[in-house]
Subunit: 274 residues, 2 copies
């Protein structure tokens, strides 16, 4: 009841023994396609529903096979191994006869996994150096034309580091890093499913390298490490190796408690020359 916009948009319903029906929402269109992180969250929701007692994606790897479109879709799930505390499954997103995405996932219950895990911690990663939100630049200031072709920008608030949005003004910094504050537009608190979207929400790091245009993802692997605390998330994208027409993009998501809650790496194609 009274579901948030995000929960409505990722909703799935049982559609056979190991299949789920979804309706890909037009609101997640960005440029020419549907956001890849949103697609993983829809597939992730079907997996959550299929794996009772294991609500949390721990690892999800997704390969993008063809461009999704708003409208009906089916997710087919196949459990490959139920190992007690962790289950490994494949999941595919279909639209009619077209395979959109194929994924390999491991699910579990992070609360019970953490309760029984080795207590040692060692975190040398540091959160992005984001100024207070009132000094950041809201994505809602994006040019009208971009907003029209990318309704996804209305699904969340994104407040960019003011030193890392030169690309929006034709002056990319060249460092290959973009950071921003993020929360869903209606304030829905983050959870381990919504993190799958966040891990592919920022513009590609290539924007900051003076390469505008959306960068098609070949493959995206998400690690969810902790259940996030409520509140804003700090998100960063960076790339260190653009070569041979491809680049890797690393994403980190930090929660309001200052904890690294999720990481992703994707391999994407360099955007086409304009």
């Amino acid at each position: 009841m009274a579901a948030s916009e995000f929960d409505r948009d990722i909703a799935v319903s049982k559609d056979g023994e190991a299949a789920y029906a979804a309706e890909l929402a037009p609101g997640w269109v960005v440029g020419g396609g549907i956001n890849g992180g949103y697609l993983v969250a829809v597939v992730g929701n079907a997996l959550r529903q299929h794996l009772p007692g294991k609500p949390d994606p721990i690892v999800v790897s997704a390969s993008y096979c063809s461009a999704s479109e708003p409208g009906p879709a089916q997710i087919r799930v196949d459990v490959r191994r139920d190992g007690g505390s962790l289950t490994t499954a494949t999941a595919e997103l279909w639209q009619g006869a077209e395979l959109r995405l194929t994924a390999l996932a491991t699910y579990g219950d992070l609360a019970s996994l953490h309760a029984s895990s080795d207590p040692r911690e060692r975190v040398v990663a540091v959160p992005p150096d984001l100024p207070p939100r009132e000094r950041c630049v809201p994505g809602s200031m994006a040019p009208e034309q971009m907003r029209r072709t990318s309704p996804m920008l209305d699904r969340f608030e994104m407040l960019f580091h003011p030193d890392q949005i030169g690309w929006a003004l034709g002056q990319p910094s060249g460092t290959g890093t973009i950071s921003a504050w993020y929360r869903l537009a209606d304030g829905r608190a983050p959870d381990t499913l919504s993190l799958l979207q966040v891990l592919d929400a920022l513009p590609p790091a290539t924007f900051d390298l003076g390469m505008p245009g959306w960068a098609p993802t070949l493959e995206l692997t998400c690690h969810v490490r902790h259940r996030p605390s409520p509140g804003w998330l700090a998100v960063t994208h960076s790339t260190s190796h653009l070569s041979g027409g491809m680049f890797e993009e690393d994403c980190e998501v930090w929660d309001s408690a200052g904890r690294l809650v999720a990481q992703a790496r994707q391999l994407a194609r360099v955007p086409r020359h304009r």
Copy 2:
């Protein structure tokens, strides 16, 4: 003919429409199991054979389902999408009725992909700062007991950074980084298949954090970016976020031409307390 040891050990033969037979070699045992990188290379070889004209793994994500044993195995391949220059397939490694590993892979021909790709390059990653090989510490100096339980150590030459092997003497540096020179024992030149092994060849970065013991990999994603030049490879493992009983481990492989040829990230469990 006159195949190298590595090529003999990863050999597969057709065993039905979409299946390949392999013999997992006892020489790749390390501690209690078979090296995960070797297993991915065996599966990768079946994929290469199954996908004519696409000899190169571009991305391979593998989930480890149960512990493999030396002896017969079967690899089952399922092409999910043939996209022209790239093909996406799943592959599973079975031993009898036991699923050992399930993988999602994208293959192509790196030579032709690169010939038609965007020529821009931007590499800010830097190779590991390894001293000349004669100043490094060979893995063959490992204690007799470790060598007996880990015959894998005889499959390649590994020359460790002298400042990063304190862990072998009970004095880990605590930085979470281990680097080494690598080449196959019989000098077989690296190629895009052998890189899959190299990406999981070094000891876990947790050794350098004072946590001895092998760290079970949940998932390993490999990106192969370039065909390697002949000669020694420089390899580095590092982790920045050990928490909740798990850690991510990033691997980079640089070739003799000074090029970053492959990257991997894995999610692994913290080794059990002794």
